[in-house]
Symmetry: C2
Subunit: 217 residues, 2 copies
Protein backbone atom coordinates (compact mmCIF):
# COMPACT_ATOMS: atom_id res chain seq x y z
CA UNK A 1 0.00 0.00 0.00
CA UNK A 2 1.17 3.51 -0.78
CA UNK A 3 2.01 5.65 2.22
CA UNK A 4 -0.32 8.34 0.88
CA UNK A 5 -3.97 8.38 -0.22
CA UNK A 6 -4.93 6.51 -3.36
CA UNK A 7 -6.69 8.19 -6.27
CA UNK A 8 -9.93 6.82 -7.68
CA UNK A 9 -11.64 7.95 -10.85
CA UNK A 10 -15.41 7.59 -10.88
CA UNK A 11 -16.68 6.39 -14.25
CA UNK A 12 -20.25 7.64 -13.99
CA UNK A 13 -20.94 7.66 -17.68
CA UNK A 14 -24.04 6.55 -19.53
CA UNK A 15 -22.15 4.11 -21.71
CA UNK A 16 -18.98 2.04 -21.64
CA UNK A 17 -17.26 3.70 -24.57
CA UNK A 18 -17.43 7.10 -22.92
CA UNK A 19 -15.82 5.58 -19.83
CA UNK A 20 -13.07 4.00 -21.92
CA UNK A 21 -12.22 7.42 -23.38
CA UNK A 22 -11.20 8.36 -19.86
CA UNK A 23 -9.65 5.08 -18.70
CA UNK A 24 -7.28 4.74 -21.65
CA UNK A 25 -5.78 8.11 -20.69
CA UNK A 26 -5.64 7.77 -16.90
CA UNK A 27 -5.51 4.09 -15.93
CA UNK A 28 -1.80 4.16 -15.12
CA UNK A 29 -2.10 7.41 -13.17
CA UNK A 30 -5.00 6.47 -10.92
CA UNK A 31 -5.11 3.57 -8.46
CA UNK A 32 -8.80 2.69 -8.52
CA UNK A 33 -11.26 2.57 -11.41
CA UNK A 34 -14.83 2.99 -10.17
CA UNK A 35 -17.55 1.57 -12.38
CA UNK A 36 -20.20 3.99 -11.17
CA UNK A 37 -23.83 3.20 -10.38
CA UNK A 38 -24.86 5.00 -13.56
CA UNK A 39 -22.56 2.90 -15.73
CA UNK A 40 -23.54 -0.35 -13.97
CA UNK A 41 -27.20 0.42 -14.67
CA UNK A 42 -26.55 1.62 -18.20
CA UNK A 43 -24.49 -1.35 -19.36
CA UNK A 44 -24.89 -4.00 -16.71
CA UNK A 45 -21.99 -5.61 -14.85
CA UNK A 46 -20.41 -6.53 -18.17
CA UNK A 47 -18.88 -3.07 -17.82
CA UNK A 48 -17.02 -4.27 -14.71
CA UNK A 49 -15.77 -7.29 -16.60
CA UNK A 50 -14.51 -5.23 -19.54
CA UNK A 51 -12.78 -2.67 -17.33
CA UNK A 52 -11.04 -5.35 -15.24
CA UNK A 53 -10.02 -7.24 -18.38
CA UNK A 54 -8.47 -4.10 -19.83
CA UNK A 55 -6.85 -2.96 -16.59
CA UNK A 56 -5.95 -5.92 -14.40
CA UNK A 57 -3.41 -3.83 -12.45
CA UNK A 58 -6.02 -1.36 -11.19
CA UNK A 59 -8.38 -1.96 -8.31
CA UNK A 60 -11.85 -2.06 -9.87
CA UNK A 61 -14.76 -0.91 -7.70
CA UNK A 62 -18.30 -1.84 -8.67
CA UNK A 63 -20.29 1.00 -7.13
CA UNK A 64 -23.56 -0.91 -7.09
CA UNK A 65 -24.68 0.49 -3.72
CA UNK A 66 -26.17 -2.73 -2.40
CA UNK A 67 -29.35 -2.20 -0.37
CA UNK A 68 -30.79 -5.73 -0.61
CA UNK A 69 -30.12 -9.10 -2.18
CA UNK A 70 -26.52 -8.91 -1.04
CA UNK A 71 -25.54 -12.49 -1.75
CA UNK A 72 -26.56 -12.50 -5.40
CA UNK A 73 -25.37 -9.01 -6.29
CA UNK A 74 -21.97 -9.56 -4.71
CA UNK A 75 -21.60 -12.92 -6.44
CA UNK A 76 -22.32 -11.19 -9.77
CA UNK A 77 -19.81 -8.42 -9.04
CA UNK A 78 -16.94 -10.71 -8.03
CA UNK A 79 -17.68 -13.17 -10.83
CA UNK A 80 -17.34 -10.19 -13.20
CA UNK A 81 -13.87 -9.50 -11.81
CA UNK A 82 -14.66 -6.63 -9.47
CA UNK A 83 -12.25 -6.11 -6.57
CA UNK A 84 -14.39 -3.94 -4.35
CA UNK A 85 -18.14 -3.54 -3.94
CA UNK A 86 -20.11 -0.71 -2.32
CA UNK A 87 -22.92 -1.25 0.17
CA UNK A 88 -25.24 1.40 1.58
CA UNK A 89 -25.05 2.14 5.29
CA UNK A 90 -28.85 1.74 5.39
CA UNK A 91 -28.67 -1.89 4.27
CA UNK A 92 -29.59 -4.38 6.97
CA UNK A 93 -26.76 -6.00 8.89
CA UNK A 94 -27.88 -9.34 7.45
CA UNK A 95 -27.43 -7.96 3.93
CA UNK A 96 -24.07 -6.40 4.77
CA UNK A 97 -22.87 -9.66 6.29
CA UNK A 98 -23.75 -11.69 3.18
CA UNK A 99 -21.83 -9.21 1.02
CA UNK A 100 -18.79 -9.32 3.32
CA UNK A 101 -18.79 -13.10 3.32
CA UNK A 102 -18.85 -13.27 -0.47
CA UNK A 103 -16.27 -10.49 -0.87
CA UNK A 104 -13.75 -11.88 1.60
CA UNK A 105 -14.08 -15.39 0.17
CA UNK A 106 -13.04 -13.96 -3.22
CA UNK A 107 -10.19 -11.83 -1.86
CA UNK A 108 -12.28 -8.70 -2.41
CA UNK A 109 -13.23 -5.83 -0.18
CA UNK A 110 -16.38 -3.94 0.86
CA UNK A 111 -16.94 -0.20 1.06
CA UNK A 112 -19.75 1.19 3.19
CA UNK A 113 -21.26 4.33 1.71
CA UNK A 114 -22.37 6.54 4.56
CA UNK A 115 -25.78 7.99 3.79
CA UNK A 116 -27.52 10.89 5.52
CA UNK A 117 -28.51 9.77 8.99
CA UNK A 118 -25.90 7.01 9.41
CA UNK A 119 -25.28 6.05 13.02
CA UNK A 120 -22.01 5.34 14.79
CA UNK A 121 -23.43 2.32 16.60
CA UNK A 122 -24.24 0.65 13.28
CA UNK A 123 -20.80 1.48 11.88
CA UNK A 124 -19.25 -0.33 14.82
CA UNK A 125 -21.50 -3.34 14.22
CA UNK A 126 -20.35 -3.29 10.61
CA UNK A 127 -16.71 -3.21 11.73
CA UNK A 128 -17.30 -6.38 13.70
CA UNK A 129 -18.12 -8.04 10.37
CA UNK A 130 -14.55 -7.26 9.28
CA UNK A 131 -15.40 -4.24 7.14
CA UNK A 132 -13.23 -1.18 7.61
CA UNK A 133 -13.76 0.90 4.46
CA UNK A 134 -16.07 3.91 4.76
CA UNK A 135 -17.03 6.41 2.06
CA UNK A 136 -17.83 9.97 3.05
CA UNK A 137 -19.47 12.01 0.37
CA UNK A 138 -21.63 14.90 -0.42
CA UNK A 139 -24.71 13.67 -2.18
CA UNK A 140 -24.63 14.34 -5.88
CA UNK A 141 -28.01 15.96 -5.44
CA UNK A 142 -26.77 17.99 -2.47
CA UNK A 143 -23.71 19.25 -4.29
CA UNK A 144 -25.81 22.12 -5.50
CA UNK A 145 -25.81 23.32 -1.91
CA UNK A 146 -22.29 24.68 -2.20
CA UNK A 147 -18.57 23.97 -2.00
CA UNK A 148 -16.41 23.32 1.05
CA UNK A 149 -16.52 20.73 3.78
CA UNK A 150 -18.22 21.17 7.10
CA UNK A 151 -15.61 21.35 9.94
CA UNK A 152 -17.74 19.05 12.06
CA UNK A 153 -17.78 16.47 9.27
CA UNK A 154 -13.98 16.76 9.03
CA UNK A 155 -13.69 16.06 12.77
CA UNK A 156 -15.95 13.03 12.36
CA UNK A 157 -13.86 11.74 9.47
CA UNK A 158 -10.66 12.20 11.49
CA UNK A 159 -12.14 10.44 14.50
CA UNK A 160 -13.28 7.43 12.46
CA UNK A 161 -9.88 7.25 10.82
CA UNK A 162 -8.28 7.19 14.27
CA UNK A 163 -10.64 4.35 15.21
CA UNK A 164 -9.08 2.24 12.47
CA UNK A 165 -11.42 2.87 9.57
CA UNK A 166 -10.05 3.34 6.07
CA UNK A 167 -11.81 6.51 4.99
CA UNK A 168 -12.41 7.56 1.40
CA UNK A 169 -13.66 10.96 0.33
CA UNK A 170 -15.86 11.91 -2.59
CA UNK A 171 -17.99 14.81 -3.76
CA UNK A 172 -16.95 17.18 -6.49
CA UNK A 173 -13.29 17.17 -5.42
CA UNK A 174 -10.51 19.21 -6.99
CA UNK A 175 -6.76 19.02 -6.38
CA UNK A 176 -6.97 22.16 -4.24
CA UNK A 177 -9.27 20.29 -1.82
CA UNK A 178 -6.55 17.82 -0.83
CA UNK A 179 -5.04 20.18 1.75
CA UNK A 180 -8.41 20.30 3.58
CA UNK A 181 -7.80 16.71 4.66
CA UNK A 182 -4.10 17.11 5.54
CA UNK A 183 -4.46 15.83 9.10
CA UNK A 184 -6.31 12.68 8.07
CA UNK A 185 -4.71 9.50 6.66
CA UNK A 186 -7.28 9.35 3.88
CA UNK A 187 -7.47 5.97 2.15
CA UNK A 188 -8.57 7.28 -1.23
CA UNK A 189 -9.89 10.36 -2.96
CA UNK A 190 -12.57 9.95 -5.59
CA UNK A 191 -12.64 12.32 -8.53
CA UNK A 192 -15.25 12.17 -11.25
CA UNK A 193 -16.07 15.05 -13.50
CA UNK A 194 -12.94 16.98 -12.54
CA UNK A 195 -10.96 14.28 -14.35
CA UNK A 196 -13.46 12.98 -16.92
CA UNK A 197 -14.60 16.40 -18.12
CA UNK A 198 -11.13 18.00 -18.08
CA UNK A 199 -9.69 19.07 -21.42
CA UNK A 200 -6.69 16.95 -20.45
CA UNK A 201 -7.92 14.10 -18.24
CA UNK A 202 -4.45 12.63 -17.79
CA UNK A 203 -3.08 16.02 -16.79
CA UNK A 204 -5.95 16.44 -14.34
CA UNK A 205 -5.25 13.05 -12.77
CA UNK A 206 -1.54 13.90 -12.51
CA UNK A 207 -2.46 17.16 -10.78
CA UNK A 208 -4.46 15.19 -8.20
CA UNK A 209 -1.51 12.88 -7.58
CA UNK A 210 0.88 15.85 -7.26
CA UNK A 211 -1.46 17.53 -4.79
CA UNK A 212 -1.78 14.31 -2.79
CA UNK A 213 1.98 13.82 -2.66
CA UNK A 214 2.56 17.46 -1.74
CA UNK A 215 0.26 17.14 1.26
CA UNK A 216 1.10 13.62 2.48
CA UNK A 217 4.77 13.02 1.61
CA UNK B 1 -57.77 0.96 -11.82
CA UNK B 2 -58.99 -2.41 -10.73
CA UNK B 3 -61.09 -2.43 -7.57
CA UNK B 4 -58.77 -5.06 -6.12
CA UNK B 5 -55.00 -5.31 -5.67
CA UNK B 6 -52.79 -5.61 -8.71
CA UNK B 7 -50.36 -8.47 -9.21
CA UNK B 8 -46.69 -7.84 -9.94
CA UNK B 9 -44.14 -10.42 -10.97
CA UNK B 10 -40.57 -9.69 -9.90
CA UNK B 11 -38.09 -10.59 -12.62
CA UNK B 12 -35.00 -11.00 -10.46
CA UNK B 13 -33.09 -13.16 -12.87
CA UNK B 14 -29.43 -13.00 -13.81
CA UNK B 15 -30.15 -12.61 -17.49
CA UNK B 16 -32.88 -11.30 -19.77
CA UNK B 17 -33.68 -14.58 -21.50
CA UNK B 18 -34.49 -16.27 -18.21
CA UNK B 19 -36.86 -13.40 -17.44
CA UNK B 20 -38.52 -13.74 -20.85
CA UNK B 21 -39.22 -17.41 -20.15
CA UNK B 22 -41.50 -16.17 -17.38
CA UNK B 23 -42.95 -13.09 -19.05
CA UNK B 24 -44.09 -14.88 -22.20
CA UNK B 25 -46.23 -17.13 -19.99
CA UNK B 26 -47.63 -14.61 -17.51
CA UNK B 27 -47.64 -11.14 -19.06
CA UNK B 28 -51.38 -11.15 -19.71
CA UNK B 29 -52.16 -12.53 -16.25
CA UNK B 30 -50.11 -10.07 -14.18
CA UNK B 31 -50.50 -6.30 -14.11
CA UNK B 32 -46.96 -5.20 -13.41
CA UNK B 33 -43.65 -6.54 -14.72
CA UNK B 34 -40.81 -5.69 -12.36
CA UNK B 35 -37.36 -5.56 -13.87
CA UNK B 36 -35.57 -6.42 -10.63
CA UNK B 37 -32.38 -4.90 -9.27
CA UNK B 38 -30.53 -8.10 -10.14
CA UNK B 39 -31.68 -8.02 -13.76
CA UNK B 40 -30.99 -4.28 -14.11
CA UNK B 41 -27.44 -4.87 -12.88
CA UNK B 42 -26.97 -7.99 -14.94
CA UNK B 43 -28.13 -6.59 -18.26
CA UNK B 44 -28.36 -2.85 -17.81
CA UNK B 45 -31.49 -0.81 -18.42
CA UNK B 46 -31.73 -2.25 -21.92
CA UNK B 47 -33.69 -4.98 -20.12
CA UNK B 48 -36.35 -2.40 -19.22
CA UNK B 49 -36.49 -1.28 -22.84
CA UNK B 50 -36.91 -4.82 -24.15
CA UNK B 51 -39.59 -5.73 -21.60
CA UNK B 52 -41.59 -2.56 -22.31
CA UNK B 53 -41.25 -3.06 -26.06
CA UNK B 54 -42.57 -6.62 -25.77
CA UNK B 55 -45.33 -5.78 -23.29
CA UNK B 56 -46.56 -2.23 -23.79
CA UNK B 57 -49.84 -3.01 -22.00
CA UNK B 58 -48.13 -3.91 -18.72
CA UNK B 59 -46.86 -1.45 -16.18
CA UNK B 60 -43.08 -1.87 -16.17
CA UNK B 61 -41.26 -1.14 -12.92
CA UNK B 62 -37.52 -0.55 -12.96
CA UNK B 63 -36.53 -1.64 -9.47
CA UNK B 64 -33.29 0.30 -9.46
CA UNK B 65 -33.55 1.33 -5.78
CA UNK B 66 -32.24 4.86 -6.24
CA UNK B 67 -30.04 6.04 -3.37
CA UNK B 68 -28.20 8.85 -5.15
CA UNK B 69 -27.88 10.51 -8.55
CA UNK B 70 -31.64 10.61 -8.85
CA UNK B 71 -31.88 12.91 -11.84
CA UNK B 72 -29.68 10.86 -14.13
CA UNK B 73 -30.90 7.41 -13.10
CA UNK B 74 -34.55 8.38 -13.45
CA UNK B 75 -33.89 9.96 -16.84
CA UNK B 76 -32.29 6.69 -17.97
CA UNK B 77 -35.21 4.63 -16.65
CA UNK B 78 -37.95 6.70 -18.28
CA UNK B 79 -36.00 7.06 -21.52
CA UNK B 80 -35.86 3.25 -21.56
CA UNK B 81 -39.65 3.12 -21.35
CA UNK B 82 -40.06 2.34 -17.66
CA UNK B 83 -43.37 3.36 -16.09
CA UNK B 84 -42.38 3.23 -12.43
CA UNK B 85 -39.08 3.61 -10.61
CA UNK B 86 -38.16 2.58 -7.07
CA UNK B 87 -36.32 4.82 -4.63
CA UNK B 88 -34.96 3.85 -1.22
CA UNK B 89 -36.50 5.46 1.84
CA UNK B 90 -32.96 6.29 2.99
CA UNK B 91 -32.30 8.48 -0.06
CA UNK B 92 -32.08 12.17 0.72
CA UNK B 93 -35.20 14.27 0.16
CA UNK B 94 -33.25 16.19 -2.49
CA UNK B 95 -32.63 12.95 -4.36
CA UNK B 96 -36.23 11.79 -4.00
CA UNK B 97 -37.47 15.16 -5.25
CA UNK B 98 -35.36 15.01 -8.41
CA UNK B 99 -36.70 11.51 -9.15
CA UNK B 100 -40.29 12.61 -8.60
CA UNK B 101 -39.83 15.62 -10.86
CA UNK B 102 -38.47 13.48 -13.69
CA UNK B 103 -41.07 10.73 -13.19
CA UNK B 104 -44.09 13.01 -13.11
CA UNK B 105 -42.88 14.98 -16.14
CA UNK B 106 -42.85 11.69 -18.08
CA UNK B 107 -46.22 10.45 -16.80
CA UNK B 108 -44.46 7.90 -14.62
CA UNK B 109 -44.68 7.08 -10.95
CA UNK B 110 -42.33 6.58 -7.99
CA UNK B 111 -42.32 3.80 -5.41
CA UNK B 112 -40.60 4.31 -2.07
CA UNK B 113 -39.06 1.12 -0.75
CA UNK B 114 -39.28 1.22 3.02
CA UNK B 115 -36.01 0.01 4.51
CA UNK B 116 -35.34 -1.05 8.09
CA UNK B 117 -35.46 2.04 10.27
CA UNK B 118 -37.74 4.16 8.04
CA UNK B 119 -39.44 7.02 9.86
CA UNK B 120 -43.00 8.23 9.58
CA UNK B 121 -41.94 11.88 9.57
CA UNK B 122 -39.86 11.32 6.45
CA UNK B 123 -42.67 9.40 4.76
CA UNK B 124 -44.91 12.40 5.27
CA UNK B 125 -42.25 14.71 3.81
CA UNK B 126 -42.08 12.38 0.83
CA UNK B 127 -45.86 12.54 0.42
CA UNK B 128 -45.62 16.30 0.16
CA UNK B 129 -43.51 15.73 -2.97
CA UNK B 130 -46.54 14.02 -4.51
CA UNK B 131 -45.37 10.45 -3.96
CA UNK B 132 -47.92 8.04 -2.51
CA UNK B 133 -46.59 4.58 -3.37
CA UNK B 134 -44.90 2.66 -0.58
CA UNK B 135 -43.38 -0.83 -0.69
CA UNK B 136 -43.39 -2.96 2.42
CA UNK B 137 -41.19 -5.98 2.28
CA UNK B 138 -39.25 -8.50 4.16
CA UNK B 139 -35.63 -8.19 3.24
CA UNK B 140 -34.49 -10.96 0.94
CA UNK B 141 -31.69 -11.55 3.38
CA UNK B 142 -34.13 -11.53 6.31
CA UNK B 143 -36.49 -13.99 4.70
CA UNK B 144 -34.45 -16.73 6.26
CA UNK B 145 -35.84 -15.54 9.58
CA UNK B 146 -39.20 -17.22 8.97
CA UNK B 147 -42.62 -17.00 7.42
CA UNK B 148 -45.62 -14.92 8.48
CA UNK B 149 -46.15 -11.20 8.94
CA UNK B 150 -45.76 -9.37 12.21
CA UNK B 151 -49.19 -8.12 13.46
CA UNK B 152 -47.68 -4.76 14.35
CA UNK B 153 -46.36 -4.40 10.80
CA UNK B 154 -49.84 -5.22 9.49
CA UNK B 155 -51.33 -2.47 11.68
CA UNK B 156 -48.73 -0.03 10.35
CA UNK B 157 -49.53 -1.00 6.76
CA UNK B 158 -53.25 -0.54 7.39
CA UNK B 159 -52.71 2.83 9.02
CA UNK B 160 -50.57 4.15 6.14
CA UNK B 161 -53.15 2.91 3.70
CA UNK B 162 -55.84 4.83 5.60
CA UNK B 163 -53.63 7.91 5.39
CA UNK B 164 -53.88 7.76 1.61
CA UNK B 165 -50.77 5.80 0.70
CA UNK B 166 -50.87 3.16 -2.03
CA UNK B 167 -49.26 0.22 -0.31
CA UNK B 168 -47.58 -2.68 -2.07
CA UNK B 169 -46.46 -5.87 -0.38
CA UNK B 170 -43.51 -8.08 -1.17
CA UNK B 171 -41.48 -10.84 0.44
CA UNK B 172 -41.78 -14.49 -0.45
CA UNK B 173 -45.58 -14.28 -0.96
CA UNK B 174 -47.85 -17.18 -1.82
CA UNK B 175 -51.54 -17.11 -2.79
CA UNK B 176 -52.44 -18.30 0.72
CA UNK B 177 -50.91 -15.10 2.15
CA UNK B 178 -53.51 -12.87 0.46
CA UNK B 179 -56.07 -13.37 3.21
CA UNK B 180 -53.59 -11.97 5.75
CA UNK B 181 -54.10 -8.54 4.17
CA UNK B 182 -57.88 -8.78 3.78
CA UNK B 183 -58.63 -5.59 5.71
CA UNK B 184 -56.18 -3.49 3.72
CA UNK B 185 -56.81 -2.01 0.25
CA UNK B 186 -53.42 -3.24 -0.96
CA UNK B 187 -52.26 -1.58 -4.18
CA UNK B 188 -50.23 -4.50 -5.46
CA UNK B 189 -48.76 -7.82 -4.40
CA UNK B 190 -45.31 -8.74 -5.64
CA UNK B 191 -44.52 -12.37 -6.33
CA UNK B 192 -41.13 -13.56 -7.48
CA UNK B 193 -39.93 -17.09 -7.11
CA UNK B 194 -43.42 -18.42 -6.33
CA UNK B 195 -44.33 -17.59 -9.95
CA UNK B 196 -40.96 -17.82 -11.71
CA UNK B 197 -39.89 -21.10 -10.14
CA UNK B 198 -43.32 -22.74 -10.35
CA UNK B 199 -43.64 -25.77 -12.61
CA UNK B 200 -46.51 -23.89 -14.23
CA UNK B 201 -45.78 -20.15 -13.91
CA UNK B 202 -48.99 -19.13 -15.67
CA UNK B 203 -51.01 -21.39 -13.38
CA UNK B 204 -49.23 -19.91 -10.36
CA UNK B 205 -50.02 -16.37 -11.50
CA UNK B 206 -53.67 -17.34 -12.07
CA UNK B 207 -53.79 -18.78 -8.56
CA UNK B 208 -52.59 -15.43 -7.18
CA UNK B 209 -55.28 -13.60 -9.14
CA UNK B 210 -57.96 -16.04 -7.93
CA UNK B 211 -56.84 -15.62 -4.34
CA UNK B 212 -56.85 -11.83 -4.72
CA UNK B 213 -60.34 -11.83 -6.20
CA UNK B 214 -61.61 -14.24 -3.55
CA UNK B 215 -60.47 -11.90 -0.79
CA UNK B 216 -61.27 -8.49 -2.30
CA UNK B 217 -64.30 -8.95 -4.55
Amino acid sequence: MKPYPMLQVALDTVDLDTALKTTRLVHDVVDILEVGTILCLAEGLGAVKTIKTLYPDNIVLADVRVAEAGALISKMVFDAGGDWISVLSSASLATIETVAKEAFSKGGDVQIELQDGWELSKIHQIKELGIDQLIFHKSRDSELLGPGWDPELLRTIKSLSEQGFKVSITGNLNPSDMATFAEIPVYSFVAGRSIRDAKDPRGAALQFQSAIQAVWS
